[in-house]
Symmetry: C2
Subunit: 317 residues, 2 copies
Amino acid sequence: MPPIAHRTAPWIAVDWGSSNLRAWALSAQDKVLARGGSERGMLTLTPVDYEEALLEVIGDWLPGTGSVDVLICGMAASRQGWREAAYLAVPTRLDDLIQGAVAPPLSDRRLRVRLLPGLCQTLPGRFDVMRGEETQLAGLVAREPDFSGLVCLPGTHAKWARLERGAVTRFTTFLTGELFGLLAGQSVLRHSIGEDDLSDPDCREAFVTAIHDIQSAPGCYPAWLFGLRAADLLDADLPAGEARKARLAARLSGLTIGLELAGLGDELDGPVTLIGNTALCDRYALVLDVLGHRSQRLNGEAAVLAGLALAHRALAL
Amino acid sequence: MPPIAHRTAPWIAVDWGSSNLRAWALSAQDKVLARGGSERGMLTLTPVDYEEALLEVIGDWLPGTGSVDVLICGMAASRQGWREAAYLAVPTRLDDLIQGAVAPPLSDRRLRVRLLPGLCQTLPGRFDVMRGEETQLAGLVAREPDFSGLVCLPGTHAKWARLERGAVTRFTTFLTGELFGLLAGQSVLRHSIGEDDLSDPDCREAFVTAIHDIQSAPGCYPAWLFGLRAADLLDADLPAGEARKARLAARLSGLTIGLELAGLGDELDGPVTLIGNTALCDRYALVLDVLGHRSQRLNGEAAVLAGLALAHRALAL
């Protein structure tokens, strides 16, 4: 093969979120040939900016003549994004997301862009939406077409989805990551919270104790929050300095993720498949283990690539 | 009496919090002769600033010769304040707060300042602190010396205190008000939340429904939070514009105060005495009523004045 084959991509996958985009040049066999990305997420862009922001990242991968498929998932397909791909209502199969894709207006004729839709749930009292995570779930289904079980995608807005034979039947989003961030960074607790390290035995113990505490009385969450501040002010059974802040951070994390787990209740009836980055999945796996539940992993990047590849194959049919 | 009697105060009461101070000139019979205040709260001051900040507000009430008692409660007596008055540990009587008072260094010899202490609870797992609210509780005891019962002081950091025959035996602080403020103002929900009005039947219904929802599953709090955003995005059974934002604000308020009530559990075993401002006490009274509990009121300003007067009388003994 001539050297140019290493640069020109048969097709391109993009995960375009609120705060950044990540792109991959892929072979016809869906192998990663190159990676790129930028901080030009949906929140920084208006519709006319998207094509240029995309070309900035993937321009080198485009052919001199002809065109390539570019499959995009995430917030770029939201109403505030490039062009809206309307939510598909659950229950919905995950091998068919391409049916809800839209094509944005383009100037560069080398691009054949498809924006994949998110999912919504319109059950009264259980309204919910996702954009981006459905493609990671599709990646799980790409690997195991008849997958059934409970899947958790930890993060700013953690998602728990019930899959039955390759379809999403229902899902619930918890504001967990955002809640933790606000409390650790913006509330009165910010004076008391540092960075935890769950490989440290004291942090780990504080984390595990918090998980049990919140399971026993989830309504006490706002009281235990203030209790972190009070314990710091009263020098209560705590080391000084950063060690103290680390331990209080571990407790805040255990209380907040633990509250999410308490909210799942009977939904948590078997092993959980965790999709996401390693550190956060480690943390959730520990919470699940403490509560007596098994878990397995799927790397978040591998999942989104497999989901976009599944959609790309469906496009070719 | 000469006119000067109307300006010179026999004694002065001050409630000095994090973000402001309020002062009252009082007669020998504890009647309010004049009121003052400023935005120079603890967070804006260093120890050397306090005397001048105080004189700015109460200077006109001081005598030409002689001196007056100035009793101060609140965050001015914290470690980061004027001078620290160490916490008194519960259980503690409320008619004796003056025993823990401290006198800060002063230049103006017309001032006889006493800073009242806060309360702390050092029960493992139940660490807690209060500064300012103990004086409002003392005001309740001033009116009813053998008071026993559960008292709630709603606010940024809502306090629930158990009183037995005029003493505080235990208390719990909930981060409720701060949590609501962060979520309504800083989270992704800020796009969906406005100002509610519980006299509007739709807002009231949303508020009451939220209280019941959170009682049934307090662990679902972070899921119901995201549900507010999803309901807005999906136009789910909601009016447009400000009416929508008001209804979602009412639901957020009901969920957040309701979570606090869920956390109280068996502690909530009889009528509740609410101390605070009218609007917030109205809201808590409604939550209590929805959950089948009676409540009575004590105005927050009346309570703090009665508490400072009780301490002043004890000082004279």
